[in-house]
């Protein structure tokens, strides 16, 4: 296990690279993968062989985690694929500005004001309504490969 320890300590300086190579055969359904430069979530993996006595290849069907577009890729299963670093961070919602930006409270006490409200209708209404009702809301922001988006919402009780 010695090389393991060495391994994670060297990576301890966070976020050096945006993706990480991983053998195609080890990527499972629900994992992440980069297809055509986009970070995706795998929704289907099937394997087949190139000819009866050839090598295995993986057929991935995946969905872009930001745009929800469906993408597909076929990779020999012994080759490496890029796996994106997908991060999710929780922030408390402080304010919604009129031009569609939100203001979030970071862990360190500062604010983060560069995120737009989500385009998704139902999440949008939930955030707006919840905020209008004066609830204490925590939003989860998903980030990968330099993009960010609000992806979930949690109600942690009424504002005191």
């Amino acid at each position: 296990m010695s090389d393991e320890e060495h391994h994670f300590e060297s990576k301890a300086d966070a976020g050096a690279s945006k993706t990480y190579p991983q053998q195609a055969g080890t990527i499972r359904k629900n994992g992440y993968i980069v297809i055509k430069g986009r970070p995706c979530k795998v929704v289907e993996v099937s394997t087949s062989k190139t000819g009866k006595h050839g090598h295995a290849k993986c057929h991935f069907v995946a969905i872009d985690i930001f745009t929800a577009k469906k993408l597909e890729d076929i990779v020999p299963s012994s080759h490496n694929c890029d796996v994106p670093h997908v991060n999710r961070t929780d922030y408390q919602l402080i304010d919604i500005s009129e031009d569609g930006f939100v203001s979030l409270l970071t862990d360190s006490g500062g604010t983060k004001d560069d995120l737009r409200l989500p385009t998704d209708d139902s999440l949008l209404t939930q955030i707006k309504d919840g905020f209008a009702e004066g609830k204490d809301l925590v939003v989860t922001v998903m980030s990968a490969m330099g993009e960010e988006q609000i992806c979930a919402l949690k109600d942690i009780g009424p504002k005191n």
């Binding site: 296990m1 010695s2 090389d3 320890e5 391994h7 994670f8 990576k11 301890a12 300086d13 966070a14 976020g15 993706t19 990480y20 991983q22 053998q23 195609a24 055969g25 080890t26 499972r28 629900n30 994992g31 979530k41 929704v43 394997t47 087949s48 062989k49 190139t50 000819g51 009866k52 006595h53 050839g54 090598h55 295995a56 993986c58 969905i63 985690i65 930001f66 745009t67 929800a68 469906k70 020999p76 012994s78 080759h79 796996v83 670093h85 997908v86 991060n87 999710r88 989500p118 385009t119 998704d120 999440l123 939930q126 989860t140 992806c151 979930a152 919402l153 949690k154 109600d155 942690i156």
Partner: protein, 1161 residues
């Protein structure tokens, strides 16, 4: 014509209604405004007493579909209002229908005719208990006259048709349920069988005989005469399909066993199920009709004569209804058995079978010409029927008798015929690449089943088959192998995706190969050396080739040879102890050298894969998969085999020679260790030299290694081998094995830990496990205490490593055995805190969360029954903490996404998490049922029931109604809930108000579920809860206490007590909703204690219910039925078993009573 009930309407009114119905029918057919039209038709079904109207439509409408609907409406209405009709009305209805069918027998709209027939049959059955014998006789007299042809040919056909629907209606497997209990159907069946079945058969036979003679004899026969003849044959067939009850009870099993061995006739057979056939056992009463009257000869001659007559236009004729039904009758007669034959040592039955066999032999001889004709002209039905007949005969006879049956008419035995036919069918099957042309596959299935029956019996030995037959089977096997090799070579270059047409699915392929292996083993002395020859020929060809490209067809041939060889040499076992097949032990007695023993020779091919160069050139992943599969089965059978003759002194017998050779090749000696070592090195090659080949690696870890660690004596040698230590070392220290798919790593860990079994004492075993797992737990602990964990934890590589480690620990946990339990629990204990940290850090990485939860599920499952009080409380408090952490992350969380499929994926992940948590609680429950821990005297052991209730309380809010739509989740949830309520009702009373309300609410939801299992569980839970309350009240205790009393709700309104609420729900369910009869038992059990506890409220509810009924007739009948529900059958106010039984009966009667007029939503 007698008047049917439901009058009141005059002629113009009837006519206008008929017009409306006809219009509705035509608009439905033209798809114009279908909802409106449907409404009109439904209203016809629902209207009270529509008989006269329907009669009017049947007699006067010009539209067949309107007549069809009228008949259907009468059926629905009569079954609904049966209780309201007088006996006179019922008889009139039936007489009307029968008259209608006979009179209009020549009408062209046959579907209306058969509908009316079927309705008449259903009504007769519905009233079977009400009518007197005289009534029935009068009805059937008409039918008899018709069947004799008194009313003309068309009516005769109608009579046959009616009898056929009657028989199928009375046969329980084809009956319509009519909402009546099973007892009713059984009573009808046995009375019908006793009094009428044989008579009807004779009627059919008479008709068939008279017309059969006529058709054969004269040149000019009308279509309708042929129609009657085939209808009569169909009726006879239908009757022989009956599952005879009376005969089965007459002939005890003992009487048949006595001459089972002497004559070769078998009675112990339940087979034929696969092709939906069963034995025909009508009993001695049928002897005169079926046997002594020469019935069999007659039908065989009839078919033969017809065959001759129509030989010119054979093609059309062979699939005509007459031919089909005649052949079906013949096939059905093949499976005639039981006490219908006199006890003459089977002579009569043998004669019977010989007769049939010598007739059907003409259908399949000469096999090659006939099959060629089929391929050209698609007339396969006769051959398929012949196959079915052969299978039936094989089922009823033993191998020797089966072979000899034909010798009276042919110079060779039946097995010769069977093998010739199979040869041709196999050729046709392997040659056809066409998916649609599947007659050969069907025929092959039947024939292989017949071979299985002949050769696969447990009492089959070499002596039960003649040398001539052995030669035939050997020849058959050669043809099979060659045909398959040709097919393999032909399809080798096909693309992987499409080429699977050859084997529709793996399990079907394995089943076929198993049948082939039976054939091979019957002639092992010839077939196994034949395989050896083919094998060595191809291996030497392969090794002499220079490039892989030319070799692909060779590879495919070898692939197939490995599969068939694996099947011939070994059995699949499936849970049984696997032994070397008898046939192989007994053969090859003349080969003393192990190096030349065919089994050894065949097994040595795998060794070539160890040479890197050969491997790179020739061992494709697919071939390697076959090698691994073969080795797994081979190792199970031949490596260090358990000596079946333990305790006996092995006498050097000639037939034992082969066994001795095999023992010395891979027994528990140095040679055996060498073999084992080779196998391990091959598996290491499969794991390390084929990156990304998941299937191959799964097969290696999940089959081959599992097979190696299955037996203790093998494990004992495994753990001493260097190669094994090599795998273990690679597993712990090397990165290559981290490249495997995470699931494969779990299997690998499981196999490695399982081998601890072979170490000599428990201390050594635990140390072995510690060495394997120590580094991983250390790694997990280290990572979780890193200060900057949050910083790097989300990197994909770290996530992947954590997932792999969790999978490995899971595998290890699953392999826990009593002797390694200590070490695995230490491992689990060591990572507990780390897991909580990781759960926190990875709360947004569903894959990691799921792995952690699954690990804990396996941890609890493997450990909980072994732990002492102290460790149990450690485990339990860990579980509760885990639940709390999980809940705090997920409660009230709404995740949304642009993509609906990602959204449903997220939902699905949630479902899997929750299901894992429920499993966790279920496993915890088992602590109370099974407890192996030693020190049970300590007092501070936590109460499992409390813990589980707290757990339920934590996770129930997470289970939304949406999630309960996943059937498995809702099943698990309600199973756990009802288990808890049944086992610990007293704890429920102590729950706080919220928790209790939640449980009550959930039960309420479950009772309205569609899933019958869930409703059943909920009913049982209600029963448990209320019975507990009732019993403790009788004892003067509190029972459910405050929950059983009406209370003031938060909003000031009076809230019903829980008991009243359940009572109301159950009554609602019974009376107004679509209640299913299967649930009567549990419903009665839940209702009875409720009635006892809340008698006054019940009376009040019943009163309200009756007040609401507008129809005075219904009101009286309902009141009456409710009265009888609670007061008949000496019902007492106790919850004893007998009383519950009585109440079940009452409820059943009650439901049958009200089925007609209640339950309208």
């Amino acid at each position: 014509m007698r008047r049917l009930p439901g009058g009141g309407a005059d002629l113009p009114q009837l006519q206008s209604t008929m017009l409306a119905i006809e219009q509705a029918c035509s608009s439905i057919q033209m798809h114009a405004n279908p909802t409106e039209a449907e409404k009109i038709i439904v209203s016809l079904h629902d209207s009270p007493m529509p008989y006269q109207l329907c009669q009017f439509i049947l007699e006067n409408s010009h539209m067949p579909i309107a007549r069809f609907l009228a008949a259907a409406a009468i059926r629905v209405a009569a079954l609904r209002e049966w209780g309201l009709l007088t006996d006179e009305d019922k008889r009139n209805l039936i007489v009307f229908f029968l008259g209608f069918v006979m009179e209009r027998a020549s009408a062209s709209d046959t579907y209306v005719q058969s509908k009316v027939s079927a309705v008449a049959a259903q009504l007769i059955k519905r009233g079977w208990q009400d009518f007197t014998e005289g009534d029935k006789a009068a009805i059937f007299l008409e039918v008899k006259r018709a069947s004799e042809g008194i009313y003309g040919v068309d009516a005769q056909f109608a009579g046959m048709d009616f009898l056929e629907s009657l028989v199928s209606e009375f046969s329980p497997s084809t009956a319509t349920s009519m909402g009546l209990p099973r007892e009713f159907h059984e009573l009808c069946q046995s009375s019908f069988e006793k009094n009428y079945l044989k008579e009807f058969y004779v009627w059919g036979q008479n008709a068939a005989v008279s017309f059969g003679d006529k058709i054969v004899g004269s040149a000019a026969t009308t279509m309708s005469e042929i129609k009657v003849c085939s209808a009569a044959l169909r009726l006879m067939c239908q009757i022989l399909n009956w599952s005879f009850k009376q005969a089965a009870s007459v002939s005890g099993p003992s009487s048949s066993k006595t001459h089972a061995f002497s004559s070769g006739i078998r009675h112990d057979t339940l087979l034929l199920k696969k092709f939906e056939r069963s034995l025909v056992e009508p009993g001695p009463a049928w002897h005169d009709v079926l046997i002594s009257s020469g019935h069999t000869i007659w039908i065989l001659n009839l078919y033969e004569a017809l065959r001759q007559k129509y030989s010119s236009d054979n093609l059309l004729w062979i699939d005509s209804p007459l031919a089909v039904s005649a052949r079906q009758l013949i096939v059905q007669l093949c499976s005639l058995s039981g006490s219908i034959f006199p006890s003459d040592n089977g002579q009569m039955q043998i004669k019977h079978l010989t007769q049939i066999l010598s007739a059907i032999i003409k259908w399949i001889e000469p096999a090659d010409l006939i099959l060629e004709a089929i391929t050209n002209e698609h007339r396969d039905s006769e051959v398929l029927d012949a196959c079915h007949a052969l299978l039936s005969i094989a089922t009823l006879t033993d191998c020797m008798l089966f072979d000899n049956l034909l010798r009276s008419v042919r110079p060779f035995g039946t097995l010769r015929v069977l093998s010739t036919l199979t040869c041709e069918v196999v050729k046709a099957y392997t040659a056809s690449a066409d998916e649609d042309d599947r007659w050969s596959s069907e025929a092959l299935d039947i024939l292989l089943e017949a071979w299985g029956v002949v050769l696969g019996r447990s009492d089959f030995t070499k002596t039960s088959i003649s040398t001539e037959a052995v030669a035939d089977t050997a020849n058959l096997f050669n043809v099979i192998v060659e045909s398959y090799l040709n097919a393999a070579a032909r399809t080798a270059l096909d693309d992987d995706n499409q080429s699977e047409h050859f084997h529709a699915s793996i399990s079907r392929r394995d089943e076929m190969l198993r049948s082939y292996s039976l054939i091979a083993r019957a002639a092992a002395d010839v077939t196994v050396p034949f395989l050896v020859g083919l094998f060595s020929e191809r291996v030497s060809l392969l090794l002499s080739q220079k490039s892989t490209n030319d070799a692909i067809s060779l590879l495919e041939e070898l692939y197939w040879l490995l599969l068939i060889t694996g099947h011939v040499l070994t059995d699949s076992g499936e849970g049984e102890t696997i032994l070397v097949p008898e046939a192989l032990q007994a053969s090859f007695s003349n080969i003393p050298e192990e190096a030349q023993h065919p089994v050894v020779v065949l097994s040595c091919f795998a060794r070539h894969s160890l040479d890197p160069e050969t491997r790179a050139c020739y061992f494709s992943p697919r071939l390697m998969e076959a090698v691994i599969w073969f080795l797994a089965r081979w190792a199970d059978t031949y490596v260090m085999p358990l000596d079946g003759t333990k305790g006996h002194i092995c006498t050097p017998h000639e037939s034992q020679a082969s066994k001795r050779v095999l023992h010395s090749f891979a027994g528990e000696n140095d040679q055996g260790k060498l073999v084992l070592d080779t196998i391990i090195r091959i598996s290491m090659v499969a794991l390390s030299s084929y990156p990304g080949e998941n299937e191959l690696q799964t097969m290696t870890c999940h089959h081959l290694l599992v097979a190696l660690v299955r037996r203790r004596n093998v494990c004992a040698h495994l753990v001493t081998l260097e190669s094994w230590a090599g795998i273990a070392n690679a597993f712990v220290n090397e990165r290559t094995l981290f490249q495997l798919n995470a699931r494969v790593q779990r299997y690998l860990a499981q196999a490695l830990v399982s081998a601890a079994f072979g170490l000599k004492d428990s201390e050594a075993s635990n140390q072995y496990v510690r060495n394997l797992l120590g580094p991983m737990t250390t790694y997990l602990k280290d990572i979780s205490i890193q200060n900057n964990l949050k910083g790097f934890a989300q990197q994909a590589d770290v996530i992947y490593t954590v997932i792999c480690l969790m999978e490995r620990l899971r595998g290890a946990m699953r392999a826990t055995q009593p002797r390694t339990q200590k070490a695995t629990f230490e491992m689990g204990h060591a990572v507990m805190d780390s897991l909580l940290t990781l759960l926190e850090v990875y709360k947004n990485q569903s894959a990691v969360v799921y792995q952690i939860l699954k690990f804990v599920v396996d941890l609890v499952d493997a450990q909980v029954t072994f732990l002492n009080a102290e460790d149990t409380s450690i485990l339990v408090s860990f579980c509760l903490q885990l639940l709390k952490v999980y809940s705090s992350h997920n409660i009230g969380k709404i995740s949304l996404s642009l993509s609906s499929s990602l959204q449903s994926e997220a939902q699905f992940e949630k479902y899997k998490d929750l299901r894992a948590l429920l499993q966790l609680l279920v496993h915890l429950c088992s602590k109370d049922l099974v407890d192996f821990s030693s020190g049970s005297d300590e007092v501070d052991s936590p109460e499992i029931a409390n813990v589980v209730f707290i757990g339920l309380h934590i996770i129930t809010p997470l289970i939304s109604l949406d999630l309960l739509k996943y059937p498995k989740l809702s099943f698990d949830y309600f199973a756990l809930l009802s288990h808890m309520l049944e086992v610990y009702p007293e704890k429920v009373a102590q729950l706080n108000k919220d928790a209790f309300a939640h449980i009550a609410h959930t039960l309420d939801f479950g009772l309205h579920c569609q899933d019958i299992d869930v409703v059943d569980r909920c009913l049982r839970a209600v029963d448990a809860l209320v019975s507990y309350h009732f019993k403790s009240r009788v004892k003067g205790e509190e029972g459910l206490g405050a929950y059983a009393i009406d209370s003031q709700g938060t909003n000031g309104e009076l809230q019903e007590s829980i008991l009243k609420r359940f009572l109301r729900i159950l009554l609602q369910l019974l009376l107004f909703e679509d209640f299913r009869m299967e649930l009567v038992g549990s419903m009665a059990d839940a209702l009875l204690p409720l009635l006892l506890c809340e008698h006054d409220s019940y009376q009040r509810m019943v009163h309200e219910l009756l007040e609401r009924q507008s129809n005075p007739d219904t009101k009286i009948r309902l009141a009456d039925a409710l009265q009888r529900l609670t007061s008949t059958n000496q019902l007492t106010s106790s919850l004893e078993r007998s009383n519950r039984q009585r109440f079940r009966k009452n409820l059943q009667i009650f439901l049958t009573d009200i089925s007609g007029y209640m339950r309208t939503k």
